[in-house]
Amino acid sequence: MAAGLTMARPEKKRSATFWQDTLRGYLFILPVVLGLLIWTFGPMIASAYFSLTDYRIISDPEFVGFQNYVDLFQDKAFFQSLSVTIRFGLMFVILSQIVGLAIAVLLTQKVRGLTVFRTFFYLPIIVPAAASAVLWKYLYNKDYGPINGVLNGFGLSSVNWLGSPESALFALVLMAVWSGAVTTIIYVAGLQHIPEELLDSAKIDGANAFQRFFFVTIPMLSPTIFFNVVTGVIGAFQFFVPAFIMTEGGPVKATYFYNYNLYEKAFKWLEMGYASAMAWALFSIIIVLTLMIFRSSPLWVYYEGETR
């Protein structure tokens, strides 16, 4: 009888092994638990508080409510840097998908020697941002740069790539596409996952290469495209080093990126409260953009196993 009762309610008191397992589990993940608390969540709370203060490091933070956020909406530099970043993001995301996908298609053809070609196309990712900024500053030079040299060779006139507000942002887009081989790598992996039977059966049904690409490959690849678009948008908001080294945000703020603006506010003018508000505004913008892309995804992203 007593035995039957204990059988019915076996775990009133947690067993010793339960606590042992819990302790052991947390000992294993202790580094990341502490890391998240110290380097992520703690600073997040502090940053949220700073964004509500006037804080210039030399004196203690002074609470000002939502004043920083109100100021943001009247700050021309804020909107300029936002517009620069969004325009850059659009151009970069679109161009790098086209270039990355085109190269990835070439790199997954059935021809010999592809490993060598992959190395060539992937190599730019390992070039440090500082080195590639210095390098492209030279390539773009209006007086003696090789790019204008090539243009002149074809009878075209020189372009003041980084020196004119019309071309500076686009010049940085081209450079970012060159450095952005990660997009290509992800597309190659995505293309390799498309089952060959699918393309073969489309071929038997009489689909030509273009039809196979647009009606089989692209839909099958849409989750990969989706991933690359999201990371590309986030990447645009982190863009900093080339704008810092090559153009210093200019000419006339044509490359005054959001992140560059934030950096100047925080570390040049020591407006830590205002810069914190900018960081939270950035976070909200990224969340909204990501949600928008996510919400739109049922319209254009196809996941295998899904029925229509």
């Binding site: 397992d21 819990t22 052991r24 589990g25 947390y26 294993f28 993940i29 580094p31 990341v32 638990v33 890391g35 998240l36 110290i38 380097w39 992520t40 703690g42 600073p43 997040m44 940053s47 700073f50 490091i57 190269i103 021809v111 070609f117 992959r118 190395t119 196309f121 992937y122 190599l123 730019p124 990712i125 390992i126 440090p128 941002a129 500082a130 080195a131 590639s132 210095v134 390098l135 492209w136 030279y138 390539l139 030079n141 003696y144 090789p146 002149n152 060779g153 990660v182 790598i185 991933f227 080093v241 992140n259 570390f267 810069a275 914190s276 960081a279 939270w280 950035l282 976070f283 990501t290």
Partner: protein, 300 residues
């Protein structure tokens, strides 16, 4: 009669085969043409960097620029390396020092956490794993300022501590994710056998999982090396005196000496020196680096 029909059919299909082969050859030729020209365009910036680094001062000032140096001047490298008011040996040492201090921390702590998330059962595990993944989405700008103030209060500014210590706390959410995915694929009966033999989980992690996960650990280590070698913003914010600079900062200082007199031969020499170790690493271990990018899907 019947055989004549048969023969003409045969020759038809032979004809078709020949044309198809010819078409295939043409399209293969086109693929190679595109691959070669594309690869050339992508390599061109690096080729120009190296060729400029070997040109004479008169040649770099000539317009239009030459493609390959007419006269190879290797002394650009030694002159740039020991240029007044630079400390390239020191900056290289600092960068390597940070790498040596960070990589073991990343590999050990991220694999330890990944093991906990992949193999141990305990309350709150999924919550902490979700939080770890969610932290990837947080833009670094949000924590930048409080961390700067924290390091300031700790007296860590202008030391390597802000660049090293955080790496020992889990080694980055992406690395934990990458290793956890790898650990999940390791067959369970291996640890069960070890438990029967009396091994604890720490022992299983160290002597079964780490050796089996070697390719993934190499990916994590190499991506970390790449990240530190390339990092610019972190060192720029935390390091203030030139003797503590890293190579990336040093290159930027060096470049700023030549705004009036452009010495692109020198600047490209230093850039080449900075890129070469990464090129070598990529050529030797391309498989691991590419796999790392595919699994984690993000750069840095």
């Amino acid at each position: 009669m019947a055989s004549a029909v048969y023969n003409s059919r045969l020759s038809d299909s032979l004809q078709a085969k020949v044309t198809r082969r010819r078409q295939e050859r043409i399209s293969k030729g086109m693929i190679y043409a595109l691959l070669v020209s594309g690869a050339f365009i992508f390599m061109l910036p690096l080729i120009l960097m190296m060729s400029t680094s070997l040109k004479s001062y008169t040649e770099i000032n000539r317009y239009p620029p030459t493609f390959l140096p007419e006269q190879v001047v290797p002394t650009n490298y030694t002159e740039a390396w020991s240029f007044p008011n630079t400390m390239f040996p020191r900056w290289t040492f600092n960068t390597v020092f940070i790498i040596v201090a960070v990589v073991p921390g990343v590999v050990l702590t991220s694999s330890l956490c990944a093991y906990g998330f992949a193999r141990l059962k305990f309350p709150g595990r999924n919550l902490w794993f979700t939080l770890t993944l969610a932290s990837i989405m947080l833009p670094s700008q949000v924590t930048l300022i409080p961390l700067y103030i924290l390091f300031h209060k700790l007296g860590w500014l202008n030391s390597f501590a802000p660049l090293i210590v955080p790496a020992w706390f889990g080694g980055g959410a992406l690395n934990i994710f990458l290793l956890r995915q790898f650990f999940m694929q390791i067959p369970r009966h291996l640890d069960e056998a070890a438990i029967i033999d009396g091994a604890g989980h720490l022992r299983i992690w160290w002597s079964i999982y780490l050796p089996l996960a070697r390719p993934a650990l190499i990916s994590v280590a190499l991506l970390t090396v790449l990240f530190i070698w390339n990092d610019f913003l972190g060192p720029m914010i935390y390091l203030t005196t030139p003797d503590n600079f890293t190579l990336a900062l040093g290159l930027n200082i060096f470049r700023s000496y030549f705004t009036q007199v452009p010495r692109n031969d020198y600047i490209m020499a230093i850039s080449t020196l900075m890129v070469l170790p990464m090129i070598v690493m990529f050529l030797v271990a391309q498989r691991y680096i590419v796999q790392g990018f595919v699994t984690s899907g993000l750069k840095g």
